[in-house]
Point group: C2
Chain length 309, copies 2
């Protein structure tokens, strides 16, 4: 089946890297970051998601590990003078100007390569900028530091105290937050889908109740993280989610659960959005259900099959 | 954005090739064909769809043009002793043992390359096996020979007369059908989605009425070809379709139209199937509608973005 000398049989050892930055509002800052990332040799910038309500932007990059490290150092270099977390207000929890930097294996790359990239990049950030770095998920150095929610608990405002408390010394860099930049969480993880559903109400308590009903940590759907966010510009509220295993808990199940819980409060779904990129198979599974395709198999997605095995 | 030396910046000049063979029932024949195709150097066999009711199988290959020509010659070599159209009964119109061979540009390949591959392959089939070859769609040598329906009109049973009639001489090979093999339609076309919806009834007249209502040629949806097929093994009927421009007429619109027309006859949709592979964007559009994703953009599909531009 795989015979021949097609160029795509070359090994593909890319990582995806999805830095989240604590600015979603200042176009000059974000344009500079975008230019810096897209101008880094060996890196492809695939997506930029700016969110004024979250006051947060998400960049999606792919490339080989050394190029990605360069790109992230450039991003920190742009963020350092531009973002002061002492004056930062936004709906999304954060500890750093560049807040989280996950590395994700795609193609032939392994999780070990993603972990190595996270550690190399974390060390480089600390050495270059004097910023404390905490490794998370697969790159974490202790079990209690794996979950990003745990790493970020206390937020920027509680970070100085957190870094002094037992078990929370940084993996790299000084033992105290940078005064304006804070700290950076650098990790390695599997692909996830960042998926937000907007509800046709301005009642944040409804979004909070729906988020609590659907998230795994309070007894909801497996592999779903959820929080409520106000979207004052649109007069809506949002259930903002990370779906960490869409193979096990399909997006359609999450949509249905949110719609059902919202309906219990007399509220409808307004619309939804994907932050960053989404694997073709995750959306194809939604389509297969909607179209009643019998015995759907993601091997039938052309684009996926044209990639290296 | 595209800077760097990532290997996937190498030119990709593959074609997809989707030969349709007039056998969907004999596992020994189909296994031999599968082995022959997958064993051809430089070719990847991505999908095999066997359909006993249609008495037809669809193979999906990708590779560079010379390798695909080799694969198709191997397929004809297997079909020649194995399939005798004088004894062939099936629900699907056909003129040849290997019935149609479309070449489709993917990646950086152009339609001109697909047309060249069709002509080279057609000539080689005629010379090697003495089978008449008719070029169709983008490879056609006259406007009235572009549409596959026109090329196949009269079917195997009317082929001898057709090839003698004005304007229907073969592009390559002898002016009369091969006695058992018939002729081969070799073409070049854009990607299409072969999509079948099964109706929960055994009334073929209902499927015929639905097909007539939704197909473009009788005033239905643009870029939709449709015919009715009985599925006696399941006790169902099928609306068997080719969707030639899913960007213009989305799959979800086709599904809704078929469900609506069937409902006028009191019949429900049982399920549906995709024959061969389907572009990620076509399914993602269905998902985006089901999930109410605002301002959906297919650039957000990870797998597609990892392919060369």
């Amino acid at each position: 089946m795989r015979a021949g000398r097609l160029w795509y049989n070359a090994p593909m050892a890319w990582l995806e890297c999805v830095p989240n930055v604590s600015d979603g509002r200042d176009p000059r800052v974000l344009d500079r970051m975008t230019a810096r990332l897209s101008g880094t040799p060996g890196v492809r910038l695939l997506d930029v998601h700016r969110d004024a309500d979250h006051h947060r932007s998400v960049f999606t990059l792919v490339g080989e590990p050394p190029a990605l490290t360069d790109a992230i150092l450039g991003l920190c270099d742009e963020a350092m003078p531009a973002i002061d977390l002492r004056r930062h207000q936004g709906a999304h929890p954060r500890i750093g100007a560049v807040d989280v930097v996950p590395f994700v294996p795609v193609g032939h790359a392994t999780m070990d390569e993603a972990v190595a990239a996270a550690r190399t990049t974390g060390r480089a950030i600390a050495e270059r900028f004097g910023i404390p770095v905490l490794l998370y998920e697969e790159a974490a150095t202790a079990p209690h530091r794996r979950r990003l929610e745990a790493v970020r608990r206390g937020r920027f405002e509680g970070l100085a105290e957190k870094l002094r408390s037992p078990g929370w010394q940084p993996d790299f860099g000084p033992p105290a937050p940078h005064p304006t930049f804070g700290a950076v969480a650098v990790g390695a993880r599997r692909i996830l889908v960042a998926y937000n559903i907007n509800l046709a109400t301005d009642r944040l308590d409804v979004a909070a109740a729906v988020a609590a009903a659907v998230r795994e940590s309070s007894g909801g759907l497996p592999h779903v993280k959820a929080m409520a966010v106000a979207l004052p510009a649109r007069g809506l509220v949002q259930v903002s989610m990370n779906l960490t295993r869409v193979d096990a808990t399909p997006i359609a199940d999450v949509f249905d659960a949110v719609a059902r819980e919202a309906a219990r409060h007399g509220v409808a779904v307004a619309d939804s959005e994907v932050v960053g990129l989404v694997p073709a198979a995750a959306l194809a599974a939604v389509a297969a259900r909607a179209l009643r395709i019998a015995a759907w198999n993601p091997d039938k997605i052309l684009d996926s099959r044209l990639l290296p095995d």
